[in-house]
Symmetry: D2
Subunit: 155 residues, 4 copies
């Protein structure tokens, strides 16, 4: 049927539904660059209110940009999903004015739990942090999925 | 000599030097409740710009309040120290208006690396997150330490 | 009723059922010292086949002794439970002939997922490793629980 | 000069020096399949003494095979290096008779600390575990490096 949605179209639809509700992501200046089935890419500029007096970005904001990519990636299958935990490693500092890009994808998505690897890089492609997020599905969907849609998680 | 500083006085002095420089912590409304040798306790109120449309606090801000307690705890020995990595587990959601308390202490502090356990609770004492931070000392001190001061890390 | 089992009696019964099946734990010389509701304490002696030529114990065996304490602690509520993941930090080396003690307890046990903190110490009480295990319940119980038994996880 | 060693030749030499000393790895049946600059691939067969009565491999041995790949990868630059910590996620069970392959490489190697991603798969290529190891260099080299050798860590 012509109405079937591809996994990437489902991912885009989920992001479109999440975004208007995502005041916190917008508050820190997150820009969604791309979403796909199990993947996402977002950007954030390091602002004055994210740095200390030496111009170094707080770890919390490096975490936050990675966490946003994680959230859009793990919610891309039309199952509402929350972050259960994260292991993050800080590799290089980020500075005032840097544009951080966080992107990544599912390494595993089982029935309920998933693992997502997100990398944070700066505008020069330098690796800033490695983030491994643990996702847990909760009840609920973002939208009624057409009967003929193919979702790899529904098998 | 009467001029000797105790480890807790050293910790307080380090915090006093860090705080004016810590624009990011102040920007998210962090309040330093207590610092000691290898420990810290801070608070943060969950604001409108930290939640989604359902009033749930973003993980990034739960991380941030824990990360602040970690920063003040691991920098309390007058050695400049950065966060190398964190394992965080999200246990219960935090909501708009909650006052989150993050407190914790060193589980280990060796010559260069340390491990700090931070708990985040809400105003009712409910456990919100467990955060285990990995600290790495870099070069530098916050202030010239008097010769007769006792620092447990200098042994 | 006099037949009601306490949470600690339930924990002991679960361990009694697990142990005969636990060839691997016996193979590395694990000794169960204590089990309780959400907690366990085990010991392991560092043998010749666990060390390198300098007499230092491989990290895998330090992990293994902690993992055993974790397994008995997280299976103590008569719900079959598996390890979903672990964050371990190695703090000091263990040596040939050391008797390692791993003990710990639940920091959180929700409906399906739990967090357990296990410490590994040597015979002198020196901290060797910190292990934070993530538990996931699967289907099944170890034994039919009497109707009047109190399990804190069943509320 | 013709005597210059490539980074991969240095890695092979380090492994050749480590292996005779590595009683524990040999004790659990580790086979080194390949080593390179910052990478390693090893195998281990799941034996009777590694499983429980249902034939499921203990997590400790899944950890151990990954930890061996990590050890050979992070020691491949002719700097003695130890594991400081690990985040491991168990994804699927391993069974009696499985041949587990652990392989991976450095995601980052700074002056003193490194991050290594190791995957464990079974003989069918099924993902069993994801392991992220944190490496810390200590003093010492495996061999005297020729003056004209190129080591990317020596820059």
């Amino acid at each position: 049927m012509s109405s079937a949605m591809s996994p990437d179209e489902i991912a885009q639809r989920c992001a479109d539904i999440m975004w208007p509700d995502d005041h916190a992501a917008r508050g820190i200046g997150i820009e969604i660059l791309a979403v796909g089935a199990g993947s996402a890419k977002v950007a954030m500029k390091v602002r004055q209110d994210m740095v200390n007096g030496h111009g170094n970005c707080h770890g919390g904001f490096i975490f936050a940009v990675a966490d946003c990519a994680f959230a859009y990636a793990c919610n891309s299958h039309n199952h509402r999903t929350v972050g259960a935990g994260v292991d993050i490693n800080f590799i290089a500092p980020a500075h005032l004015g840097d544009r951080l890009i966080a992107h990544g994808h599912a390494r595993h998505q089982g029935g309920r739990s998933g693992l997502y690897d997100i990398e944070v890089e700066n505008q020069a492609g330098k690796l800033i942090a490695l983030f491994r997020g643990r996702a847990a599905r909760i009840k609920g969907h973002f939208f009624e999925i057409p009967d003929n849609a193919a979702s790899p998680q529904e098998r």
